[in-house]
């Protein structure tokens, strides 16, 4: 199954310091970023900014699952934001999930207690885009993807950006994020897997997150283009180039 290329629009919300709307693989997320702003007493840290992540589900109010997603995102985003530049302040990131892919095969309501790994890349990518749109000083940019290990005809197969059906059948699921310096930033796994499988997953995710535009120009890269999935880094770059060009139209 081929998935449409990721789409993003920046500065969609007029009142926020920065915002982004990102859709890919059936997920649509809108994020707003405000900051650095004054911290409340309980969030105040004497030497660094507090990164406040709020995840809002498409319907209903957030629960334990959203809190868990928030904690995962919070710890990895705080790594790439220059938090030391803004002591005693808050950088607030609000992520509103707008739509998730519909699963015709499994009733999604039943898996309330399980982790929601497949949505992490969408949330993460939107947050990074919104932070860039709000010109929050950062150490590096980051890209993220989700990879599934699916049992197919008795052999294990690695599927990037799995469909809801693949996720239902997967033996394990992995969400990974890499900084623009090719460092692993986030790794969350679920299910049964061996070290060898994780290594393969890591390699595949790195390929998706870290290949940069010049490398892709090679002919051999073009051949297995379908298998390797989208090139997240050049996507991020092109989205930002559009934004900078419209900001500096007068140059």
């Amino acid at each position: 199954m081929t998935i449409a290329a990721p789409e993003a629009s920046l500065n969609a919300l007029p009142r926020a310091d920065g915002s982004a709307r990102y859709s890919y693989a059936g997920y649509t997320v809108t994020a707003s970023v405000n900051g650095p702003i004054e911290a409340q007493r309980r969030d105040e840290h004497a030497y660094e900014a507090h990164v406040d992540v709020i995840v809002r589900p498409a319907a209903g109010v957030g629960g334990t699952r959203e809190r868990h997603l928030e904690s995962i995102l919070q710890s990895s985003l705080a790594q790439i934001i220059l938090v030391k530049n803004f002591p005693r302040s808050v950088i607030q990131i609000v992520l509103q999930i707008e739509s998730t892919p519909e699963n015709a095969y499994v009733n999604t309501k039943l898996v309330q207690a399980s982790l929601n790994l497949p949505i992490i890349p969408a949330l993460f990518q939107t947050a990074v885009l919104a932070l860039l749109s709000a010109t929050v000083p950062m150490k590096a940019t980051a890209t993220s993807t989700v990879v599934a290990v699916v049992l197919e005809d008795g052999s294990k197969k690695i599927v990037a950006d799995p469909s809801p059906k693949d996720i239902g059948e997967a033996t394990s699921l992995h969400a990974l994020a890499f900084t623009s310096h090719d460092e692993l930033l986030l790794s969350e796994s679920e299910g049964d897997f061996t070290v060898k499988e994780w290594d393969d997953v890591y390699e595949r995710a790195q390929e998706i997150c870290c290949q940069s535009a010049p490398k892709q120009a090679g002919v051999d890269m073009m051949l297995d283009d379908d298998a390797s999935g989208p090139d997240m880094r050049s996507f991020l770059r092109s989205a930002l180039e559009t934004k900078v060009a419209s900001d500096l139209y007068w140059k």
Binding site: P87, P137, A140, K243, S246, D247
Partner: protein, 246 residues
């Protein structure tokens, strides 16, 4: 002055060392958006266009948007929040810690003759101290000459919010040539008389004898900013607005 093609950089990307200006005597000056990691690494921290000025051996990142972060010597428009024993608390942007403006930081102010400002009033001030560990400090007087140089309380008029990048363009010494803002000149040529003060924190204060002019100038500025108007479009917009007013 600028590089041949606009060079867009993202946070953490490496900058081609050949682009970094060098001079046998003058030190390299880094502007907003760049971070120096000792000993010799220069890394962008925001997404924007890298601008290199070889004559002044300086480089910076040109970008727009985000929240105002005070830095020294910026001219800003602030709103008085309240007065303490020795200074006023001034708000520069919503939800950020207030800046302090000493009661005596006005032209020829003494303990007995100092401007009495009440909450809600506006001041045009310079950032005299900006430090990440302290709240910013302001002054309405030049510390060397003791003159106001146009700074001080802003009476009457109205404040309009613009983007930080547009405020920067308005404040450029050659806003017409470098910043491509001609809306103010065009308004003046159409016979409108008004006073204006631009704050680096994305605020523009406009005052005039007629309220209509104030609203018109503010609308022209905001529309130029929001719709990314070029020089020609700015002139056209002013023509249209002036015609509608009369």
């Amino acid at each position: 002055m600028s590089t041949e093609s606009p060079l867009v950089v993202l946070p953490g990307e490496s900058i081609d060392p050949s682009l970094i200006p060098t001079h046998h005597k003058n030190p390299l000056r880094l502007g907003p958006g760049l971070r120096h990691i000792p000993p010799s690494e220069i890394v962008p921290t925001v997404a924007g266009q890298l601008v290199v000025d070889n004559r002044k051996t300086s480089m910076w990142i040109e970008y727009n948007g985000g929240r105002y972060i005070p830095s020294q010597n910026d001219l800003i428009i602030g709103q008085i929040v309240r007065s303490a024993t020795d200074f006023y608390y001034v708000s520069l942007s919503p939800y950020t810690p207030n800046a302090t403006l000493p009661h005596l930081a006005f032209e020829s102010a003494t303990k007995k003759t100092r401007p009495q400002l009440s909450p809600g009033e506006l001041v045009y001030a310079r950032v005299s101290l900006a430090n990440k560990h302290m709240d910013p400090e302001l002054e309405c007087v030049s510390p060397s000459t003791g003159k106001a140089d146009g700074l001080g309380p802003l009476k009457d008029g109205m404040v309009f919010d613009v983007s930080l990048g547009f405020a920067r363009r308005l404040l450029m010494a050659k806003s017409r040539e470098e910043g491509k803002v001609e809306v103010l000149e065009a308004l003046g040529e159409d016979g409108l008389g008004f006073e204006i003060a631009v704050g680096r924190n994305g605020k523009v204060w406009v005052n005039s004898e007629s309220t209509k002019t104030v609203v018109l100038v503010g609308r022209a500025l905001r529309e130029t900013d929001e719709k990314n108007l070029g020089v020609e479009a700015q002139r056209k917009l002013v023509k249209k607005l002036v015609r509608e007013m009369r």
